[in-house]
Each structure stands twice: as structure tokens, then as C-alpha cells.
């Protein structure tokens, strides 16, 4: 097939970035992929109660070519028409094995770098991201390239990894996506809670709670009374435990928040924020809680801990997290990932670099969770879905 007929081809000089993003949602075996003119969207879900979404923005690639085939023009017309009819969407959409994709991207040995710890450090101090990866990424990745391509509807998703002397080609079989897949509905106009903070705090809290292997995670937030923001785990074999994000000026309350966290947030912004808006935990940058009247002054919502824990890789890798809840209790965790461009600059991407912000590329990974309702303790997910609908 001639190059011009390919639907999609994108080249990245930094497979590590792509791996980091996709690894965040690596909790499921398969991912639904949608190629759009602006980037590639990978989504995963489990039991229709957890959903993860990673968007590989085209800015992450040095070249990004997307030719949407006219539905009648070329030889594969009937295939693409069929796809367009069934989907109602023009953009190609298919399912691939995410675990295989991740394993393929790891062939460069990107996994050898202590990515988790490096990113953790980076999420507290973003300037260290490039420094901590200095040993592996910039010097070694220069001669490496990673190419994604999708020739035509129904063809496999091709990933080519090239480095000096060896070239690896992986063709991932593409499957037709399950018709029944729907997004977990998140009511953007019914948001009753919005908390933005450094992702590392959330990761620390979840890791801390996870050590007692609870089955339920309760998020409790109030704008009016203490404790303002608490995560607690219960239902495990051990006793209940909770992490409370307190206000710095009243240290007596924050029994479980480590003192070193306060020291770390002791920079100008958080201090001024703490004094300006007293009724918000110190670590949060945004703390908006407005429960509906029926709920009282406090938002309390339960989630299955094991599901929230699926986002822990994203928590570890991300810079910031936006925690949002809607009226129905659906929880949205939006993670912001920042990549330093320095690590991936090669000569061929100079055409794009003018457009981008020179400092860093920002990508987002989203998670959505369906809440546990009072009546279905830890029962089946179907009951929850019924409640949702």
C-alpha cells in the first residue's frame, strides 16, 4: 500500500513518554483506541464501573499525519462505510491488546529507569523531572524512534521501534469495539466537589491506606467544618484508617498528615492560599465543595478501594490531580502529566516546536469511578449500574 493511502502515521522520538501515559491506564488487558486529527485516544474500562482514558496529543509526536479516507473514494470503501455506519463516527476506532502494546514499548528498556520514583519526585518539584531522567532518556533516546501506523480500516495497528542496529515491528490485531461500550456519565453541570492538588499527596494517601487493604474508600469533604477533606479506608481485614488533609495553621487536627508534607508545601503560594482561604486544606490548590441541600454540609461518598487503586500508577506519575464529584457520586480523577521537551528534541521536530510551548508538554489522563451506593454494600456492579440509569 502506498504511503499516501495510509490513514494514520505518527512518529515519536520518545517512546518513554508514550509508555508513561499508557502505563497509567494499564490496569486492563485491552484498550479501545480512537484516532483523531488531534491525537490518539486510548480508553480502558472494567466492569463498567471504572474507566481510564489517556490521550496521546499530537504534540507528543514529531510527525503526525492523519488522512481520513473519504468513505467512497478508495478501494476499502465498503469497509470504511460499514465502520462509519455502525459507529456514527468518522474517526477510526478499534480495540487492541494494551498489555501487548505496553510490553512492546518496553522493548527499549524504558522500564529500566526508576520511573515511578523519578516521577514521584518530579510531582513535588517539577524541575527535577528532566534531571532525574538524564541518565537514560536524552542521551540514549536520540537514535531511537517509535512509529505508530494504521494503514486502513481493519488493518493491524503497527508499531515500529527503531534504534541502532535493530528494528522491532509489532502488528497489533485490531478488533471491532464492543457496541455496548458507553462512557460512565459524568455530569459536568452537576459538579459538587472540585479539588486540585499535587498528585503525590493523593498517591501517598492511597498508598498509606492501601497498606491495610481496605475494601471501601470513603471520600469525605466539607467546606464548612473540619475535617475538610478526608480519605478513609474500611472493610478490610484490619481496622479502619483514614488520611486527613488538614490546614497547616491547626496542626493538632492533622494527626495522620506527615509533618514533612507541610514542610514541602511551605512555599509562597500554598502559604498565601492557606491564609487567604482558611477553610481549605493546605495541600489543595483549589478546594470547592458545594453539596446539594439534601446532602447536608458534608459530601460523603464510598468507592471500591481496589478500583481507585487502579489509578495509583497515574497518581505516582502525574504532576497534579483534579478530583471532581458530581451529584450522582461519580468520581472523576483527572491527572496532569508534564513532560520536559528537552529529553526528546531531535532535529526533525523543529517544525512543530514553534507551535508548542518550549518548556514542556502537558498531557492528561482521566479516570472515572461509579460510586458504591448504600444499599449494595460490596455487591455486584450491575446493581450499581441500575441505580445509575
Amino acid at each position: 500500500m502506498a504511503e499516501t493511502e495510509r490513514i494514520f502515521i505518527a512518529v515519536s522520538s520518545n517512546a518513554h513518554q508514550l509508555f508513561t501515559l499508557l502505563n497509567c491506564i494499564g490496569f486492563a488487558q485491552n484498550a479501545t483506541v480512537q484516532i483523531t486529527p488531534d491525537g490518539i485516544r486510548f480508553s480502558v474500562e472494567e466492569g463498567r464501573v471504572v474507566q481510564g482514558l489517556a490521550f496521546l496529543d499530537k504534540a507528543l509526536f514529531t510527525t503526525y499525519t492523519f488522512n481520513l479516507p473519504p468513505t467512497t473514494a478508495n478501494a476499502e470503501g465498503d469497509l470504511s462505510m460499514e465502520d462509519a455506519e455502525s459507529d456514527g463516527l468518522d474517526y477510526p476506532c478499534f480495540v487492541v491488546s494494551l498489555s501487548a502494546l505496553l510490553e512492546t514499548l518496553k522493548i527499549f528498556g524504558v522500564n529500566d529507569s526508576p520511573s515511578a520514583s523519578a516521577s514521584r519526585a518530579g510531582s513535588v518539584q517539577p524541575s527535577t523531572v528532566s534531571a532525574s531522567s538524564a541518565f537514560n532518556a536524552p542521551a540514549l533516546l536520540l537514535s531511537r524512534s517509535c512509529t505508530f501506523q494504521y494503514a486502513s480500516h481493519g488493518s493491524p495497528l503497527g508499531i515500529t521501534l527503531a534504534e541502532t542496529g535493530v528494528k522491532t515491528t509489532c502488528e497489533l490485531t485490531t478488533y471491532v469495539p464492543d457496541e455496548g461500550e458507553v462512557e460512565i456519565p459524568f455530569q459536568r453541570d452537576g459538579i459538587i466537589m472540585k479539588i486540585i492538588m499535587r498528585s503525590a499527596w493523593l498517591h501517598n494517601a492511597i498508598t498509606e491506606l492501601g497498606s491495610t487493604s481496605p475494601s471501601i474508600l470513603r471520600i469525605s469533604a466539607s467546606a464548612k467544618e473540619e475535617p475538610y477533606f478526608t480519605l478513609s479506608g474500611s472493610g478490610g481485614p484490619f481496622s479502619q484508617s483514614s488520611v486527613e488533609f488538614s490546614i497547616e495553621d491547626t496542626p493538632s487536627n492533622g494527626t495522620q498528615v506527615d509533618s514533612h508534607r507541610k514542610v514541602l508545601t511551605n512555599d509562597g503560594t500554598s502559604r498565601s492560599r492557606a491564609t487567604r482561604a482558611k477553610l481549605a486544606p493546605t495541600v489543595t490548590e483549589t478546594f470547592l465543595v458545594s453539596p446539594p441541600f439534601s446532602m447536608g454540609p458534608r459530601i460523603k461518598q464510598d468507592y471500591r478501594f481496589s478500583f481507585i487503586h487502579k489509578a495509583s500508577r497515574a497518581m505516582a506519575a502525574a504532576n497534579k490531580v483534579s478530583i471532581r464529584g458530581d451529584r450522582q457520586g461519580v468520581l472523576s480523577l483527572q491527572f496532569m502529566m508534564e513532560f520536559d521537551r528537552n529529553g526528546s528534541i531531535v532535529t526533525s521536530n523543529s517544525t512543530r516546536s514553534g507551535k508548542d510551548s518550549p518548556a514542556s508538554t502537558v498531557s492528561f489522563v482521566d479516570f472515572r469511578f461509579v460510586p458504591l451506593l448504600d444499599e449494595d454494600e460490596l455487591g455486584g456492579g450491575d446493581a450499581m449500574l441500575d441505580e445509575m440509569d
Binding site: V96, S97, S99, A100, E103, T104, K106, I107, G109, P156, G165, V166, K167, T168, T169, C170, E171, L172, T173
Partner: protein, 368 residues
């Protein structure tokens, strides 16, 4: 029957034994007057026939071998020998000798270690410290007895010399037990090529194996069948399913090596280019003989001709164990006998004659 020598190249010896012990628990060690042979024939998997000149690991001038036949054949438990050798890593002097205790033949490995002692710590009865040095963690006492050969002398430099002897029970093999063992014979290879960096090859091979293990193994077998139907009349019914995944390794006479695997969910292959196809020694074969070799016919085919590739199908896990020989940093020539076998000639680096110290790995190709 006597055997005693000083081990001068402990590092090489240790790595060699480590590489062999990943393939099998037992090894046939044949001591001759100027070469040592190690042979590993596991029930399943890769055979190794190694031959090293005495001086490559032992001290030539201190090599005593006495036997009616001029050779000594031993069956050595590799894990025990490996553990014993690991403790000799920092030793100043290592001796290996054949002995016996209560009529059980033993290989006794004695090491002389020096440890610095601080000030007043020169205690008279510190034989207890030997055990921490000699005994590796998790050693079973039956396989590895320990002789607390505590010769201590705290000299002026407050350095203490410690002798540690570790005994490895072995079996002395009679000639009749080994006369049926012969090195495999293969026809001339279709393709011979120098393998790329073994660490890289190993890590990629392991990823492929993992990818295939995660997906269904049957799919891999089925996919490979399709590519081999021309050769065998056997259907996919003969495929071994549910076992370790099979990698397809292929090479041509134009410097390319390809590793690939296919499952339901994916097809993946890595291709190395610009590798070297070593030329054969012209002194051993006449020009016409060389021209008739299958590898020359393969070379005549173009680099992009699929017919010029010789393929074998190998067990992924076994292959990873074979590649552990990479720790010896050798030069490896892989000889492909199309859909039959893969023979690796592993030449150890070092000052001695490379031609003489060679490990030969025989890997059978699986049918699909």
C-alpha cells in the same frame, strides 16, 4: 586416580559453571591431559558440549592428573559447584582436587582468603567466621559439606588468612557409562552469522516470550504452522500446545537476524541488520567445496529474498537460559540448519587461543 590443580581463572570458571547450571543440574566433566570438557545433556532442551584448554582456567604447571586411562570422567552437580565457586570470587588462591571421604568421591575446593582484622579482633578461635564466608545462603548440607579448615595466622599486617574447603560429592563415571554419549552431528549449516549483543537479544527474547505467554500459546503455534506448511506434511495436530511459547529465529547470509513471534493479538518481530556472516576457513576446504556449501547457495540469493532466510523454532524459556552465556562476553557464531537445528559456537574471550576454548550449544528446532 588423582586430580589436583590450582584454579587461576576463577571468574571464567564460575561464569561457565553458572551458564551451564541454568540448563541442567548435572554435568559430565571430562578431565584430560590438556583439555577439560564439560558436557550438559538435559532430558529436554539444549545440549552443551564445551571444551577448554587446561590453561584457560587452571594453572598449567600445577595440574596433576593420574588415571589408568589418562582421563577422569566425573558427574558433577552444577548448582553445588557454582555455589562453592561463588565464595571463591575474592580468594587469593583456589585449589580444586579430587578426594574421597567414606568412599564418597568428592571434589574439594579450597580457597585461601585474606581478611583484614581490626586491632584486638585477632581472636584465637575465630574459625566460626569461616562459615559465613564459605557457606552461601540456603545451602543444603548434604550437597555441600564444609570442612572448617581453620588455619589462622594473624600476621604483622593484621591480615588473617583463612582456608575454606568446600566439598562437592561427585560420581566417577566409568568409560562404559559414557561411551554411548556422542556429540550431535549436523549437516552443513544454511546460514552462519555472528549474533548481536547477547544481553539485548536476551531481553528482547524474554519480552517476546512474555508477550506470547500472556496471549494464547495455541495461536502462536497456529500462526507458525502457516509459514511452514510447505516443508512438513504434518498438520497442526502435532503441535505441542500449552507449553512454553516458541520463538522463530531466522537469519540470512546478508547480515540479518530476525526474531519473531505471533499470537492472536499481535505479530511482533525484531530485525538486526549489518551483522557479520563469518567466512569459513579456506585452508580446511577447497574452493569447490566451499562453493557447494548450502550457505553459499543461500548467500547467492538476494538479501530481500525470503528464500534466503533459514528459520528455526525454539523454546522461549530454553533460549533465554542459553543466552545467559552472555555473561561470559563471548563471540557467538550461530549456525542455522533450516527448520532442523540451531548450533551456537560460543568462543570465550581471553588471552588463550580462541579456537580451542569453545562451547557448542545444540538447539533443536521444534516442528509446529
Amino acid at each position: 586416580m588423582r586430580f589436583r590443580t590450582e584454579v587461576v581463572n576463577t571468574a571464567t570458571f564460575t561464569k561457565l559453571i553458572a551458564s551451564l547450571s541454568s540448563l541442567s543440574k548435572l554435568c559430565w566433566m571430562r578431565l584430560e591431559s590438556n583439555v577439560i570438557r564439560f558436557t550438559v545433556i538435559p532430558e529436554q532442551g539444549t545440549q552443551v558440549w564445551a571444551q577448554l584448554p587446561v590453561e584457560s582456567i587452571f594453572e598449567e604447571t600445577d595440574y596433576t592428573l593420574e588415571s589408568n586411562t589418562g582421563v577422569i570422567n566425573l558427574e558433577v552437580p552444577l548448582p553445588s559447584l557454582h555455589r562453592a565457586l561463588r565464595s571463591a570470587a575474592a580468594a587469593k588462591w583456589v585449589q580444586l582436587r579430587l578426594t574421597q571421604k567414606a568412599k564418597v568421591p568428592l571434589l574439594a575446593l579450597t580457597i585461601r582468603a585474606k581478611s583484614r582484622v581490626k586491632g584486638e579482633a585477632a581472636l584465637g578461635t575465630t574459625t566460626g567466621t569461616n562459615q559465613t564466608e564459605g557457606g552461601g545462603p540456603g545451602e543444603d548440607a548434604s550437597a555441600l559439606g564444609e570442612e572448617g579448615g581453620g588455619l589462622l595466622n594473624a600476621n604483622a599486617n593484621r591480615e588473617r588468612e583463612t582456608f575454606i574447603t568446600q566439598e562437592i560429592p561427585v560420581k566417577v563415571l566409568h568409560e562404559s557409562a559414557i561411551e554411548g554419549l556422542h556429540e550431535p552431528r549436523c549437516r552443513d549449516p544454511d546460514v552462519h552469522i555472528i549474533l548481536p549483543d547477547l544481553f539485548q537479544l536476551k531481553s528482547i527474547s524474554e519480552r517476546f516470550t512474555k508477550l506470547a505467554t500472556d496471549s494464547s500459546p495455541k495461536a502462536a503455534a497456529a500462526a507458525a504452522t502457516a509459514s511452514m506448511t510447505s516443508m512438513t506434511g504434518q498438520g497442526p495436530g502435532t503441535a505441542v500446545s500449552g507449553v512454553s511459547p516458541k520463538l522463530e529465529l531466522a537469519a540470512n547470509m546478508h547480515g540479518s537476524l530476525r526474531l519473531s513471534i505471533a499470537t492472536d493479538a499481535l505479530k511482533i518481530s525484531s530485525v538486526w541488520t549489518d551483522l557479520v556472516n563469518p567466512s569459513l576457513d579456506p585452508s580446511q576446504l577447497s574452493q569447490t567445496q566451499i562453493e557447494q556449501l548450502p550457505s553459499e547457495r543461500m548467500r547467492a540469493l538476494g538479501g530481500d529474498d525470503e528464500a534466503g532466510w533459514a528459520r528455526v523454532r525454539i523454546d522461549g524459556r530454553d533460549w533465554a537460559r542459553v543466552l545467559s552465556v552472555g555473561r561470559m562476553n563471548p563471540k557467538v557464531v550461530a549456525c542455522f540448519i533450516h527448520e532442523t537445528a540451531l548450533v551456537l559456537y560460543v568462543y570465550l574471550p581471553g588471552s588463550w587461543n580462541e579456537e580451542e576454548s569453545c562451547l557448542t550449544y545444540y538447539i533443536n528446532s521444534y516442528l509446529s
